[in-house]
Symmetry: C2
Subunit: 251 residues, 2 copies
């Protein structure tokens, strides 16, 4: 990697942590992380997200089962970030407004954006405090069940999970794509030598998986991408059904 | 605000900056910010986002017109973050796979998530470097036109804009919602005294708007939320049309 400003060191050395020490995260730290989330930029100052802390061990095991990741039931503090237009609906209703566009695709994306920006801001905050994190899109493997478990009302949607804890592992650096394949100027345009660049990166990733400390395997980026492109969750179509059930994408 | 760990100071004092000095952001800084974006956590290591730097002044004015914000055509460096399953489709196709699920709602949300997490990570990086930022969901006011301007291929979607620059203003602190209205435990549950808490916050926001340095007005949070709940973009329904045109939400 090129040498960059040391003030970016945490971010350039980011590793996902999946194993945490049993050390609890104290309530003051939770409060601080919630405050950071709330100070994230928010579209039109509408603050259209909520956070749920999962402290009930049984509920947490149920969420781990949805995620199909045992470590989700392990140590660390689990937050679920929720796109939230329900609170707005309540406020509007009290102001005498019942016909809203809060179920539109626009309002869904706006709330989802607020929730995801807040989640990453908490990741950065946790890492500034020396803690480790793992973000969990896998909570959406069974959105209908998760909505039921969290008793999410109409006009809310679970977007991402986040575990924060004291790291109990130090994973190796995982090299990213050639930036020429990711960063363009003025229009979307993959470089003319895209295939060659992907092939070169495939070799980098093959080397990474073949030589890393644990769970070595033969794998390239192209293989990973190709495999994933054919995968849908077991409950195919549930995401659209869940969005509809929650009143989103109504217009 | 309660006293929190000084390592969270930048994040707890976050202000959106909309006016930047004419000082250019040097190429090494742009490269560093792209590297930070690429080191953001990414679902299943698929790296499903791209970034476009807007350097063409005319294109930038067109994007400012879509955003309906003059300052978008001003100083600072403008990035557009793109949810990207097109690169995956190219890679899969070269591997002989043409029937993919890359257009599903799941893959759209996964790519959108990658793009938004990366955008916030760049915000944090920029602020660590003493720069200011503004995130622009407003680029979606006319998604079909933006897709056309950026020549975005099938299976890509513009998610958010971000300007990074040297601040030319120091906006006041804007108080956030009572955390009891945002952070819950184990299930979604607004507090029993929700209405009273919103009313109290309305007074805080009324005070903020009445006494801030510029653009003073009479405004409460409830009024802001209620008004916004009734607003759809001028091109109503274009977001769903644009998602469909780009091949997303196909299943």
């Amino acid at each position: 990697m090129a040498t960059f400003d040391s003030r970016l060191s945490n971010q350039l050395h980011h590793r996902t942590i999946r194993r945490f020490l049993p050390a609890p995260i104290n309530p003051a730290t939770i409060d601080a992380l919630v405050a950071v989330a709330q100070h994230t930029a928010t579209s039109h100052f509408l603050q259209s997200f909520s956070m749920i802390s999962i402290t009930d061990p049984q509920l947490r095991r149920q969420i781990a089962a949805i995620s199909k990741q045992d470590y989700v039931a392990g140590n660390g503090h689990l937050f679920i970030f929720v796109a939230d237009q329900h609170r707005a609906w309540q406020i509007a209703q009290r102001a005498g407004i019942t016909a809203t566009h809060l179920g539109s695709a626009d309002k869904f994306l706006q709330a989802t954006s607020d929730a995801l920006l807040a989640a990453q801001n908490v990741v950065n905050a946790a890492e500034n405090l020396g803690l480790g994190t793992v973000l969990l899109v896998s909570i959406l493997n069974d959105p209908l069940q998760l909505i039921d478990l969290l008793q999410l009302p109409r006009l809310t949607f679970p977007v991402i999970g986040l575990i924060v804890g004291v790291p109990d592992q130090a994973p190796q650096f995982k090299p990213r794509l050639d930036s020429a394949l990711v960063h363009f100027e003025n229009r979307y345009r993959l470089p003319a030598d895209e295939a060659a660049r992907v092939t070169a990166y495939d070799e980098v990733i093959r080397e990474y998986y073949a030589t890393r400390d644990t769970n070595q395997r033969a794998e390239t980026f192209s293989h990973l991408i190709s495999g994933s492109s054919q995968v849908l969750p077991a409950h195919r179509g549930d995401l659209k059904a869940a969005l509809s059930q929650q009143g989103f994408f109504a217009e």
